[in-house]
């Protein structure tokens, strides 16, 4: 049981928790949070694989680590856009939820 394997199990549970929260929680803000948990779990898995690929005097394989950095920044942009959308839905309809009352069949 090396530290890398321990964090691998942690990433597996994080992915499970994120997926569960994403499917079960009705509110979009909580879905966005669960999505970030899911993303963190995935990036942690990249980190574990990088750690196991440590060679040539490096603590870990730089290629997956670079992918994680790109992934984190993309995940942040996704969260920022999703939250901005949620706040605008909240301003327009007064309810920060996805199940809006069906719009009247207007033109």
């Amino acid at each position: 049981m090396t530290p890398a394997t321990l964090y691998g199990l942690c990433s597996a549970v994080l992915v499970g928790a994120g997926l569960y929260g994403m499917l079960v929680n009705p509110q979009p803000l909580r879905k966005i949070l669960s999505l970030n948990l899911l993303g963190s779990g995935t990036f942690l898995l990249f980190g574990v694989i990088a750690r196991r690929g440590a060679a040539a005097g490096l603590g870990g394989d730089p290629v997956p680590q670079a992918m994680v950095i790109t992934g984190i920044v993309v995940a942040f942009s996704a969260t920022a856009l999703a939250v901005a959308l949620l706040l605008r839905v909240f301003q327009e309809t007064g309810r920060p939820t996805l199940d809006q009352p069906a719009p009247k069949d207007g033109g």
Binding site: L35, V63, P64, V74, L86, R88, L98
Partner: protein, 494 residues
């Protein structure tokens, strides 16, 4: 002339440069930059396709001379060339169509909608070209994000509450899909130390890590392609977007993640997925065709009906996996049929959504019940709508017919006749929801037109519909261009 492989880079960088410049200058410049990018992009796509057609060999470009697995390689095979051309045609039509609705008045202060539309349009194109050309799974992930981040603002462009909710739901589905795809990439990198498609194809063995990775990635990409049980986000999103944007979304953006599944199963992990998985995917496709078409039949509003038709037509694409998997004559027919369905649906659906946009502008509403006598009021638009409907139905002189005929014969040829039955039912249902619109239009009755439609925009829609028709002239046999770069033993499932 620029060296052909360098064209691959320019195909991605031209729209990307357009996005950066539109951001920097904004205002009226965004529109002109978009038009220039359209012309350049079309030329580049034609150049790549011509080179592929003449040499018959796939093009490859290694970025910064760092060979994979360390670096990234761009690769254009027959499939990429076809999709590049389709993207250029549909993008050109959408840009010409949208010039009027999203024009920025000269001298007036910059407004929101035109800037966002033109910037996101180029973002979609950059994402699409990156999806067609990238040869590395992580670069394909970034290309998918490019597509998602430029499609979501297009859906919520008009700011109406239901479009904002549709955009949020679309984004949540797309992000879950992307993360599952990334999870699969992590497993593959852990197993084989590379994410390059060609290197993976040689290194991959059917072991647990590959099977779980393939399952996760296929599930994620199926969510982004709105395959039947995961299609809930598509209709409100594609119906809510402005006409030009929904044409782009339905015709091309949805196909981006589908092409990734094809790359995964046919290029990166040949022989990993069992026949069962391929049949499951095709079964979900069949369910999509039947349920999507039935729900489309019951829609009161035109754009929602067309959006559900997209959900249905996507189902046909998934017949590719059980049919085109094994090596042999019938699978090459199925492969060409599947790709024809991609192209024919793209052109026909774009024409249909643009026609719906014109109808919406002309009548002020898009309730099908109020279409009485539209045939006399807007003859050209209804003709275009009819021709596009023909392609969706699969009537002979149209691209849709060629695609469905090939899929039909391939499924019978390979002894899986049940897909053929579903294809026929799908054709009938498609005829149902198309005639449901044409019947009142050709019937009598006064139609109060709210706004006149300039003939130029009607001509664009008709042009696209005629393109869908001309695709019917493609011979019913495996096309050489599509075979370029295909591994000979295309055994997907043993």
């Amino acid at each position: 002339m620029i060296a052909a492989p360098a064209l691959l880079v320019l195909a991605i960088m031209a729209p990307a440069t357009g996005v950066v410049l539109a951001f920097a200058f904004g205002g009226r410049a965004a529109e002109w930059i978009a038009i220039a990018t359209t012309v350049a992009g079309a030329a580049i796509a034609a150049g790549i396709a011509a080179t592929l057609w003449s040499t018959g060999l796939p093009l490859r470009y290694v970025i910064g001379d760092w060979a994979p697995p360390l670096g990234i390689a761009l690769r254009a095979d027959g499939l990429s060339a076809i999709m590049l051309l389709t993207s250029a045609v549909v993008m050109g039509a959408v840009v010409l169509f949208a010039r009027e609705t999203f024009a920025q008045r000269p001298g007036a202060p910059e407004t929101r909608t035109p800037l966002i539309f033109w910037t996101m349009l180029m973002g979609v194109w950059a994402g699409l070209n990156a999806v067609w050309l990238a040869g590395d799974l992580f670069t394909l992930y970034v290309a998918l994000e490019l597509l998602t981040f430029s499609a979501v603002p297009l859906v919520s462009l008009e700011g109406k509450p239901e479009t904002l909710v549709a955009a949020l739901r679309y984004m949540l589905f797309a992000l879950v899909g992307s993360v599952l795809y990334l999870l699969g990439c992590a497993l593959l990198y852990g197993g084989y130390g590379t994410l390059d498609l060609e290197l993976l194809a040689h290194a991959v063995r059917a072991e647990p890590v590959t099977v779980l990775a393939a399952a996760l990635m296929t599930a994620g990409l199926a969510a982004k392609t709105a395959l039947f049980p995961l299609h809930l986000w598509l209709p409100p999103a594609h119906a809510g977007a402005p006409a030009a944007a929904s044409a782009l979304l339905s015709a091309l953006v949805v196909k981006g993640s589908f092409i990734l599944i094809v790359r995964l199963w046919f290029d990166a992990l040949p022989g990993v997925a069992g026949a069962g998985a391929a049949t499951l995917l095709a079964a979900m496709g069949a369910a999509a065709i039947i349920c999507g078409s039935i729900v489309a039949l019951r829609q009161a509003r035109l754009k929602l009906m067309i959006a559900y038709s997209t959900v249905a037509q996507i189902g046909y694409l998934f017949f590719l996996f059980p049919l085109a998997g094994a090596a042999g004559h019938w699978s090459r027919i199925a492969w060409t049929g599947g790709m024809m369905q991609l192209v024919a649906h793209a052109v026909a659906k774009a024409a249909m959504f643009l026609a719906a946009g014109l109808i919406g502008e002309a009548l002020g509403h898009d309730r099908i019940a109020g279409f009485a006598g539209l045939g006399r009021a807007l003859p050209v638009v209804m003709l275009a709508f009819g021709l596009a409907g023909m392609s969706l139905m699969g009537l002979p002189p149209s691209g849709g017919f060629v695609a469905k005929a090939m899929l039909l014969t391939a499924s019978v040829g390979e002894g899986q006749w049940w897909w053929a039955v579903v294809i026929l039912i799908g054709g009938l249902l498609a005829a149902g929801y198309t005639f449901r619109v044409l019947a009142p239009a050709l019937a009598g009755g006064p139609v109060p037109l709210v706004a006149p439609i300039p003939r130029s925009r009607q001509a664009i829609v008709l042009g696209l519909a005629v393109c869908a028709l001309l695709l019917g002239l493609v011979p019913l046999r495996p096309s050489q261009l599509l075979e370029v770069g295909r591994p000979v033993a295309m055994a997907v499932s043993r």
